[in-house]
């Protein structure tokens, strides 16, 4: 629907090649992007959000193994969009930056939206794009209030200390600029801030309770820079690099100002400053001299207190938007994943307002004397027998629940057979598991080919085929 006939301003890239290394028990046998959340694959949610904002073509980077499934994902789950699926080769463990490099030649638009495949949000994109466009920033990042309290979320599996993955995010509230970002792991005892930074941004707010949504709007020249560099992680290295470069002395600032030559509109207004140093990001930057000139004529400034012009004459700017209402979660660890599944029916309204909420799939069969709670979701082709109780649970596709079974707060994936008399509470049961009769399972993660004992009782365990592979990375 390219009515305007112009090159689209934005292109979207979804990075869904992650292995889910933070909860391998679950992601061992199923790619993280295909894990079900509310009986829809995890990847569906970011794609849905992009579709709601007008995107009809998206580039998706996935691992080799799930390429074919992702290819058919859009059609299967009712998304009217074209997916350009790019597969990461299975061998190495690529970082997010490597994934971006892979798709670099498919990028033709001046701006790129890069998001992680496990982001579930009802973000109104215009907040970010407004910021990005209005201030001609190089990178605009999304942050959200962290609403998950790890201490209060019950999680299946052995009790473990939640990993500390805080981010220290410094935002100048007056200008919305992202001035400082660092993850907890990279800091020792102290967080040091350069004095020159404080001189420029005297009112800096540093947050530790924000989720980095891993949703970025880049200018395409940043990706050009990335292509020539050997950074491996976007969040870990590229973003901090850009944030730091905001305040560095631009070598061109000392050059004499060009003549008031406004007859430059005819030539390409976006020309790079100089191309000597491939390592220096400034050499990739496209400048719009006319826009600078009109900014100079304008009577607006974004800060007070010094004699510099708007934006302190800094050509490279990084902005951040903090989402304070609505949902924004990344399903990259067990807590988030479980919580998502529990809350998804409540959030679907905001996430996908035009989609019919499906609690009991029309192709599923629920016997009349089965007690199925309202928040439960039953997938296609599943069968729930009489005398069962399901509360707050999600049942996947093609499952079979025999009689006298109690399921409470469970997440059950596809092709699972729960035999008679079982009581399962707060657990996560992966694909293809057969739970024999009269088992009592409480707060466990049950992996694929676990060999159950009939009538076994398990609590707070990870039940997998190989007991040694329980490590969380």
């Amino acid at each position: 629907m390219k009515t305007s006939g112009y090159v689209p301003e934005f292109q979207a890239v979804v990075l869904a090649g992650g292995k889910g290394s933070r909860f391998t028990d679950v992601t061992q046998n199923k790619a993280k992007c295909l894990l079900p959340v509310g009986n829809l694959p995890l990847l569906w949610y970011p794609l849905n959000m992009l579709q709601r904002n007008g995107f009809q073509e998206v580039i998706v980077v996935v691992s080799e193994a799930c390429k074919s499934e992702v290819n058919g994902l859009a059609k299967r789950y009712g998304l009217d969009m074209k997916l350009d699926v790019v597969a990461l080769s299975a061998q190495e463990d690529p970082g997010t930056a490597e994934a971006l490099r892979l798709v670099h030649d498919r990028i033709s638009s001046p701006r790129v939206i890069v998001l992680s495949g496990d982001l579930i949000t009802d973000l109104k994109l215009h907040h970010l794009t407004d910021l990005h466009r209005a201030h001609r920033s190089a990178l605009t990042a999304l942050f959200a209030q962290n609403t998950l309290d790890h201490k209060t979320i019950p999680v299946p599996g052995p009790k473990s200390k939640p990993k500390k993955e805080k981010d220290f995010v410094g935002i100048d509230k007056g200008t919305n600029q992202l001035c400082y970002i660092s993850s907890e792991a990279d800091l020792d005892e102290f967080l040091s801030v350069r004095r020159s930074l404080l001189m420029e941004h005297p009112r800096l707010s540093v947050f530790t309770n924000l989720i980095d949504a891993h949703f970025y709007i880049f200018e395409s020249w940043v990706l050009d820079f990335l292509a020539k560099d050997d950074i491996s992680s976007i969040k870990g290295e590229l973003v901090p690099h850009l944030v730091k470069k905001q305040h560095s002395k631009n070598p061109d600032q000392n050059q004499p100002k060009p003549e008031d030559d406004v007859s430059d509109l005819k030539n390409n207004p976006n020309k790079s400053l100089h191309a000597d140093d491939p390592q220096d990001i400034f050499s990739y930057m496209c400048t719009d001299s006319m826009a600078d000139k009109s900014q100079e004529l304008s009577t607006w400034t974004d800060h007070t207190g010094d004699l510099k012009g708007a934006y302190r004459n800094r050509p490279l700017r990084v902005y951040a938007h903090v989402m304070d209402t609505g949902t924004c979660l990344r399903a990259n660890n067990l807590y988030a994943y479980c919580e998502l599944n529990r809350q998804i029916s409540r959030w679907m309204n905001a996430l996908a307002p035009h989609r019919e909420p499906v609690h009991l799939h029309p192709n599923s069969k629920v016997e009349p004397r089965a007690q199925v709670g309202v928040e439960c979701q039953i997938g296609e082709g599943s069968f729930v027998s009489n005398k069962t109780t399901l509360k707050n649970s999600i049942l996947g596709v093609n499952c079979k629940v025999d009689e006298k079974v109690k399921l409470l707060n469970c997440i059950i994936m596809d092709n699972v057979h729960v035999k008679e008399g079982c009581q399962i509470t707060g657990s996560l049961i992966c694909d293809g598991v057969i739970v024999p009769e009269r088992c009592e399972i409480k707060d466990c993660i049950v992996g694929k080919s676990y060999k159950f004992v009939v009538g076994g009782k398990h609590a707070n365990e990870t039940l997998g085929d190989d007991q040694n592979r329980m490590m969380e990375i």
Partner: protein, 549 residues
């Protein structure tokens, strides 16, 4: 401006306390002899003909009704007189028929008006075209105020809406009359007096028609509070697939004919991020306008031309379509969108008109690339001639008016003035001192100060409240979202914070105020120094120029 000087002359002996909390520059009070109070040239950038003082047409309609009602009342009065009931009994009738009572007093008004009219004619008021109406207004307002005073007695059932409106209008007219009366001394054309005095009487009767022809109004098809205008706007937006902006919730009634929008809700909510109708450069431009990042006439024009050149560069003619016409139809929704973001400035309007003429003048047989080249060239030339060179020319002309040792007072910030002053110091090597007057909410004066200080000019920075105090030092003067008014810069002190909760309070934050052309002595343009009346001539000449080339 003349008014201000008079005030200053009076206030010389009474230094008012300056609001100097914001003053950042040194306060050395240099005893510079101000120039003789002869009003020197004032440079203005924009034509003062943007908007004239307005009267809503509802007022005219109301007056007609009033007139009709008056006639009825007169008849009733006559009938009453015949039947022996005194007119003063109408006072007793007041609770029962409030509107009629108003008309009753209008009859008195007319009588008083005629008396005052005779008195005024004898006083030899300069009878300009405006004056019969003016004296009428002041008489009207004077006596209407009487009527209002009478009606302030509590009436059961309350006053009708019409009465309230009439009261408000009376107050407005009084204010307007005062302002015009203050400007009167400039031009007196006594030769017309005789004619006017004769024309007075018939003019009183046909008051509505006079009002219509003499007072400038915003044309009917532009007033935002009319249904037909709203419908037209909606239709236009729909056809261009541009989402409408959310209208302001509470408007000040006097300004309800202007388009006002709620600032918080961004227009881009409704526009899809990808695949929309509007080109990205225009979207950016609109955002920057509505956020105020690009303000100032020249800046807006340059930014607009920049965006347009991007549009043209990205444009490719679809098959079977004519470049000039297709491009023109593409640009139309863009302009509508920009207008929604922020009303077009005069410079933008001129630029768009120029561009459209150029597009329409394109030779249809030209290959696309050449046509685009041509357009881009003409845009370059336009910007170069009308902004860069014009600024240089104006600066040269204006500099001749500035003398060494001058103290100049400026309000707010304007890029052109900035250029003039900086060039005066750097090129002509003049020594001047500048007093920058600033006002809420935007504090644009700070930007001006920053530029001037960077150029090495001595500046004093004051708030507008201290203008009378600073006035004795000055030789030359150049005189810029209601929620912006709420923020006083002190987080604990925001008395206006919940202004929407108070039903009787409406905030109005005017961005532009217009000096009537009669108060402006001269306009310095790149063509020459002209009086205000010659502005349309210049514009006309320029248009002919553009069409010819």
């Amino acid at each position: 401006m003349a008014k201000k000087k008079k005030k200053a002359a009076q206030g010389k002996g009474q230094p008012l306390s300056t609001d100097s909390t914001e003053a950042e520059k040194s306060k050395t009070v240099v005893k510079v002899e101000p120039d003789s109070n002869s009003v020197q040239s004032e440079s203005r950038i924009e034509s003062p003909l943007e908007k004239e003082p307005i009267m809503s047409d509802k007022k005219v309609e109301k007056t007609k009704e009033e007139i009709l009602a008056e006639r009825e009342a007169k008849k009733a009065a006559k009938a009453a007189k015949k039947s022996g009931v005194k007119p003063s009994d109408s006072q007793a009738k007041r609770p029962a028929t409030p509107p009629k009572n108003e008309d009753k007093s209008k009859a008195q008004i007319l009588a008083q008006r005629e008396a005052q009219k005779a008195a005024k004619v004898n006083k030899q008021i300069p009878a300009k075209a405006d004056s019969p109406q003016d004296s009428k207004i002041s008489a009207n307002s004077g006596t209407l105020e009487l009527a209002v005073a009478q009606e302030t007695k509590p009436v059961d059932g309350g006053k009708t809406k019409a009465e309230l409106k009439a009261e408000r209008r009376a107050k407005q007219e009084a204010q307007r009359a005062a302002k015009l009366a203050g400007a009167k001394p400039e031009g007196a054309d006594s030769s017309k007096k005789g004619v006017a005095s004769r024309g007075n009487k018939p003019q009183i009767q046909s008051q509505p028609s006079i009002t219509k022809s003499k007072v400038q109004r915003v044309p009917d098809d532009m007033q935002a509070d009319r249904q037909s205008v709203e419908k037209k706007v909606q239709k236009k937006l729909q056809s261009a697939q541009i989402p409408a902006r959310v209208k302001a919730q509470r408007k000040v009634v006097l300004f309800s004919h202007l388009h006002q929008y709620e600032r918080e809700l961004s227009m881009t909510r409704e526009i899809p991020v990808v695949g929309g109708v509007i080109h990205s450069a225009i979207l950016e431009l609109g955002l920057r306008y509505s956020e105020g990042i690009i303000t100032g006439s020249n800046a807006r024009c340059v930014a607009l031309m920049n965006a347009m050149s991007k549009v043209i560069r990205d444009y490719s003619t679809p098959p079977h379509k004519d470049l000039p016409r297709d491009l023109d139809s593409r640009i139309k929704p863009y302009i509508t969108f920009l207008r929604q973001c922020r009303p077009l400035s005069l410079s933008m309007g001129n630029a768009i008109r120029f561009l459209k003429t150029k597009i329409n003048a394109l030779d249809p047989s030209l290959p696309e690339d050449e046509a685009k080249e041509q357009l881009l060239d003409s845009i370059d030339n336009y910007v170069h001639e009308n902004i860069v060179l014009a600024a240089k020319q104006i600066s040269i002309t204006a500099r001749e008016k500035i003398r060494n040792g001058d103290v100049i007072m400026i309000y707010g910030c304007s890029s052109l003035l900035r250029t003039v002053l900086i060039d005066a110091v750097q090129e002509s090597k003049l020594k001047i001192r500048v007093i920058v007057v600033d006002g809420r909410p935007k504090y644009e004066g700070r930007e001006m100060v920053r530029h001037l200080v960077n150029a090495g000019i001595n500046c004093t920075y004051v708030q507008i409240t201290s203008v009378p105090y600073m006035m004795p030092e000055v030789g030359r003067i150049e005189p810029c979202d209601p929620d912006d008014l709420v923020d006083t810069g002190r987080p604990s002190f925001t008395p206006l914070e919940d202004w929407r909760d108070l039903n009787s309070l409406t905030l109005l934050n005017l961005t532009y105020d217009v000096t009537p052309p009669t108060l402006v002595d001269a306009i310095i343009s790149e063509v020459s120094v002209i009086p205000t009346t010659s502005v349309p001539v210049i514009l006309r000449l320029k248009n002919i120029d553009h069409v010819a080339t």
